[in-house]
Symmetry: C2
Subunit: 275 residues, 2 copies
């Protein structure tokens, strides 16, 4: 088994795992309200990470059977603990590589993928392989963000700079921070039919409860989490980085705002398709 | 009376008036579903243009009384014809300058402003003056776009270039194409209370009815409408412009998509405020 690839821009630091745990329930309804899997259906969750989405999936579809996999043992241990602590019996975890899938064709009724394709150098290849695992008539559901959709006030050149660093870093690591807008053509190119996209916007300002904490713990923590890498790789100097992060905190003040859009895509494997 | 100022990036060509007429009913529900004015209330519509929003306002609140003004006589004639043809008796039009308002303080129960602030060199001053016209407890409703929210696929450097030209042109003419994100702080700075912002996203791809026509008649027509000015002012050469517009048309093809977010703001003039 290969080591986890270094395409994952966010890393696996404790602070990042906390961020994912904090973020998932906040967005649970926005992302998951229209995803329910029927009893007895077999669902593959690709790249489950620390299980942030697994928990929500397994709760929302308690009689579906989930197989959730990831390449990082560290993440899997955390995912397993979380899901078993909550007493959810309908998930099996396994260690697997998305580039070398250990499942037979035609095995799953549904596939769920969240915040994964943006980290992959060849998302189309992975989608083709995933389609192979689905039974004819099965569905794929994908959720991805798009860094180009982030819009905030007040603006500052330094704040823009740290976000640009985040974008560049992800690109240098082989990922695509603008994945959201690409879901439709990728699913079509991978041979899925009935492709529908629905954008899900997160908007926050001081009039909304939890604004300050959410901006700090989700958005700024995500950007600041790559600071060391960005500085080490020479994308930005220490002083500019710190000024940028300081300026981002002004979003949490009176008159500040931020919004960002995630894209949820659903596609179907045509029933006439051979696996 | 002064001539219309040249801050209006879209101009007053017949093709642009057609675009506004085409666009307004498409977005009517998205923008107006939560705006209803009570019977007998007196509503000021600031910068009504060709009456695209006036028609919807007057229909949705048939027992409210609207005073709709604009500085362009040409636009007012068109607005008046449109509204009277539809048999709506609850609108009075007048010619007035937003920088020199001919109304007494404390005159209106509500004010409605759509796609105007983005064209003004000093939107805060105008908001202060508008607030003066409201009775204590009265509300202001504003709808503005934000060019930074436009996200499309497939991308192309030339397509990005023509959009950058649109942005630069509006900035050179004294406007702010990124107005949407500023509504909250502007309303707060102008002394309004209970300020709430709600983003309204327009998303379109080939799976949605009317996709091709909407992208062509609303988005591309808006950008292409400033082509001559952009080329005349030396922002771009003719060839690049044509390539950019050609590439924008690829949004309408299989796998293409576009989304854009408008911001609706509502604020209140505190009842303790003196006019």
């Amino acid at each position: 088994m290969k080591q986890p690839p270094d395409h994952y821009v966010h890393g696996h630091a404790a602070r990042e795992l906390e961020r994912l745990d904090y973020q998932a329930p906040k967005f649970a309804d926005l992302f998951h309200h229209d995803t329910r899997y029927p009893p007895e259906s077999r669902v593959l969750e690709v790249g489950c990470g620390v299980g942030a989405q697994t928990l929500i999936l397994a709760r929302n579809s308690p009689r579906a059977e989930f197989i959730s996999f990831d390449l990082s043992t560290e993440s899997l241990v955390k995912a397993q603990n979380t899901v078993f602590q909550k007493g959810l019996p309908n998930v099996v975890f396994c260690k697997a590589d998305v580039n070398d899938l250990p499942f037979k064709p035609d095995t799953f009724d549904h596939v769920f993928v969240c915040f994964l394709l943006e980290h992959l150098p060849d998302p189309l290849l992975v989608l083709n392989n995933i389609r192979n695992l689905l039974r004819p008539g099965g569905t794929i559901t994908i959720i991805e963000g798009d860094a180009g959709s982030v819009l905030f006030y007040p603006e500052s050149p330094d704040a823009n700079r740290v976000i640009e660093c985040f974008v560049k870093l992800q690109q240098q690591m082989g990922g695509n921070p603008f994945m959201g807008r690409e879901l439709r053509h990728l699913l079509i190119d991978a041979g899925f039919s009935d492709v529908t996209i629905s954008p899900r916007m997160v908007y926050s300002d001081l009039s909304r409860p939890g604004h300050v904490e959410e901006v700090k713990n989700i958005f700024i923590a995500m950007i600041d989490g790559v600071g060391e890498s960005a500085i080490t790789r020479g994308l930005v100097d220490n002083k500019t980085w710190n000024r940028g992060i300081r300026d981002l905190h002004r979003i949490t003040e009176q008159g500040g705002m931020i919004c960002s859009t995630f894209f949820k895509a659903v596609g179907k494997k045509g029933s006439e398709d051979s696996p």
